[in-house]
């Protein structure tokens, strides 16, 4: 029942996202044709005929009713057809997404998980040992949290990549050394390239987890069952983990899913700084080229993946917190 209700909610949310995605570009002005023209104009004069032929090429001439367009759009979605990208013309939006998504999942996914684990871990210890020197961590995480992502990233590139040469300056892997494949050299190289961007993501987003977990931990510590555990003579580590942290982590966990959306957002900026070939960087390209189809597609994918992550975490939550499993 719990699952069905959750699924229902996600269906509604997905529908809302899809519809929003459909409506935004139609509610607001702008034309991809002019964007393409602007690009071409950099290379040479653009004639009136060029304009017409691009319009024909992009198929922007429609005089269908809004409802009809909506149905077409939905039908297209079910076929996996998100339209044609202007930036990557004649590439399909879906193909562009398929190409860039793995990179983001790799970089952002990994660093989010690292951030979460580290933040929650340190937060749990900080909460457990409240009133010790660990409390001094809190203001510093607040600073880290409020530093603009890209500012930190640029400074890191300047310091660690350009000046010290410890890390590569940009990109997802060394194009001269390896090519994408599922083998050790590539993965090792890609990991090396992901280190610095990942570090900025971890640093600038760890504070929230740490603090949230610490506060939850402190609250949980005054619960009777933690006291009971102590009275039971359990070892402190066991009490901390199974009794305190196990309960304190639950709210963080649902926050984790929600924050995935924000992390993907953050990746837009980080990926831009590092020329990292993921969704965020592609999104920026789409924006700069007024590539509405691509923007829509990316937004949809980001939304849906956030939805999926939420759903997963929700289901996991049901598993971790028996109280939500059955109605009572």
């Amino acid at each position: 029942m719990y699952v069905i209700r959750k699924l229902g909610f996600y269906l509604v949310a997905a529908w809302a996202a899809i519809t929003l995605n459909f409506l935004i570009p139609r509610a607001l002005p702008g034309s991809p044709v002019d964007a393409m023209l602007a690009k071409l104009a950099l290379r040479g004069p653009v004639t009136d005929e060029t304009r017409t032929s691009i319009e024909k090429m992009l198929g922007t001439d429609t005089d269908q009713s809004l409802a009809g367009q909506y149905l077409d759009y939905l039908a297209g979605l079910f076929r996996g057809d998100l339209g044609v990208s202007v930036t990557f013309f004649p590439g399909q939006v879906s193909q562009v997404i398929v190409d860039s998504l793995p990179w983001t999942l790799w970089l952002v996914g990994l660093s989010t998980v690292i951030t979460f684990v580290l933040g929650v871990g340190i937060g749990a210890v900080a909460g457990w040992r409240r009133g010790t020197w660990l409390d001094a961590l809190i203001p510093s995480t607040a600073v880290l949290q409020s530093i603009p992502y890209f500012w930190l990233a640029l400074i890191f590139v300047y310091l660690f990549a350009v000046n010290l040469g410890w890390f590569p300056i940009s990109g997802g892997y060394d194009v001269n050394l390896v090519r994408p494949a599922w083998d050790y050299p590539f993965i090792a190289n890609a990991t090396y390239y992901a280190l610095l961007p990942a570090l900025t993501i971890v640093l600038s987003s760890i504070g929230g987890w740490l603090l949230g977990m610490r506060n939850m931990m402190v609250s949980t510590l005054s619960e009777d069952y933690v006291l009971t555990a102590e009275a039971k003579g359990l070892s402190p580590v066991r009490t901390m983990i199974t009794y305190a942290a196990r309960n304190a982590v639950l709210p963080s966990l649902s926050g984790f899913a929600i924050s995935l959306g924000f992390v993907v957002s953050g990746s837009i900026v980080v990926e831009t700084v590092f020329s990292y070939p993921g969704i965020g960087f592609t999104m920026l390209q789409a924006v700069q080229n007024n590539d509405y189809a691509l923007m829509q597609g990316l937004f949809l994918v980001i939304t849906l993946s956030v939805l999926c992550a939420n759903l997963l975490v929700d289901l996991m939550y049901g598993f971790l917190d028996p109280r939500t499993r059955a109605g009572h």
Binding site: A229, E230, P322
Partner: protein, 285 residues
């Protein structure tokens, strides 16, 4: 119970303060002996320091609370040795807890970890104190314990929220009995329950005490209840122990004014209304 009996716990001049901006002297120079197999009732109004005292006996108090003086000696019947409880620390303290002194707290829902099963919480106790026990042995022992307190052994896989308040409290009692402790501290174990359930649980405790012979410190502010179940009753007020006597002495011959006030705060169910003034109005009418 006679005076000649052996003490299981000797508390001398125990003082506990909350070291906040204006320090609260929650327990002041409390001394008493607790005898083997005895039920000691601890009464007193809210905030008089009952819980603080109970926690101090097991070193469960947390900063800003601090023991500022006194001693707690536990006389271990198994080894025959006297243990200075306040000197215990670390691993020794951990081993002492629950094995010698177990506790049952007020809110059973809150005393049980809501996210892990009853089985795991019972098993925890054995895992920490009797690591030699095999899994099956642990399970068997846990089931026996549940049976002992009148809970169906099949409920062992249940999660706390799936049990009623009374059942949860029984589970807590079962857990408290797991290691055959010599002393069980119960801090308002039945306040959250309704009278009928409360009665069942009390009967259960009395029966088990009879069978197993552990001593009980029973904290509540329900004096009639204490009168019924305790051997001796201690009355606390503002951190001090103002009176300690057998239930009978206390009932028939309260020494302290405060004890008298407390006794008169409970109108008799079957007798007349006592201090309750409505009677006067009724007469007039």
């Amino acid at each position: 119970m006679s005076e000649s009996q052996q003490a299981v716990l000797t508390v001398r001049d125990l003082s506990i303060d909350y070291l906040v901006a204006e320090p609260v002297r929650a327990v002041q120079s409390v001394s008493f002996d607790l005898f083997r197999g005895e039920i000691l009732g601890l009464a007193g109004e809210s905030g008089c320091g009952k819980t603080t005292l109970a926690y101090g006996l097991n070193q469960l108090h947390k900063p800003p609370a601090a023991i500022t003086g006194g001693s707690v000696i536990f006389h271990d019947a198994e080894t025959g040795r006297a243990v200075d409880v306040l000197a215990l620390a670390g691993e020794k303290l951990r081993r002492f807890r629950w094995a010698k002194v177990s506790m049952v707290f007020q809110g059973a829902m809150n005393s049980l970890n809501p996210v892990i099963s009853i089985r795991a919480q019972l098993a925890d106790v054995f895992a920490s104190h009797a690591p030699d026990l095999s899994r099956e042995q642990r399970l068997r022992r846990s089931e026996e314990l549940l049976e002992l307190v009148g809970v169906d052994r099949r409920r062992i896989s249940a999660f706390p929220h799936e049990l009623s308040g009374g059942m949860r409290q029984r589970v807590m009692i079962a857990m408290a009995l797991a290691l055959d402790p010599q002393l069980m501290i119960m801090d308002e174990p039945t306040t959250a329950l309704d009278v009928v359930v409360q009665r069942e649980i009390l009967d259960e405790i009395l029966r088990l005490r009879q069978e197993l012979g552990f001593a009980v410190i029973f904290i509540t502010h329900d004096l009639p209840l204490l009168l019924e179940i305790s051997d001796r009753i201690a009355v606390m007020r503002r951190g001090e122990l103002v009176e300690l006597a057998t239930a009978e002495d206390l009932y028939f011959d309260p020494q302290h004014d405060y004890t008298a006030t407390l006794l008169s705060s409970f109108p008799s169910l079957t007798g007349d209304a006592g201090d309750f003034v409505r009677a006067g109005y009724q007469e007039r009418r």
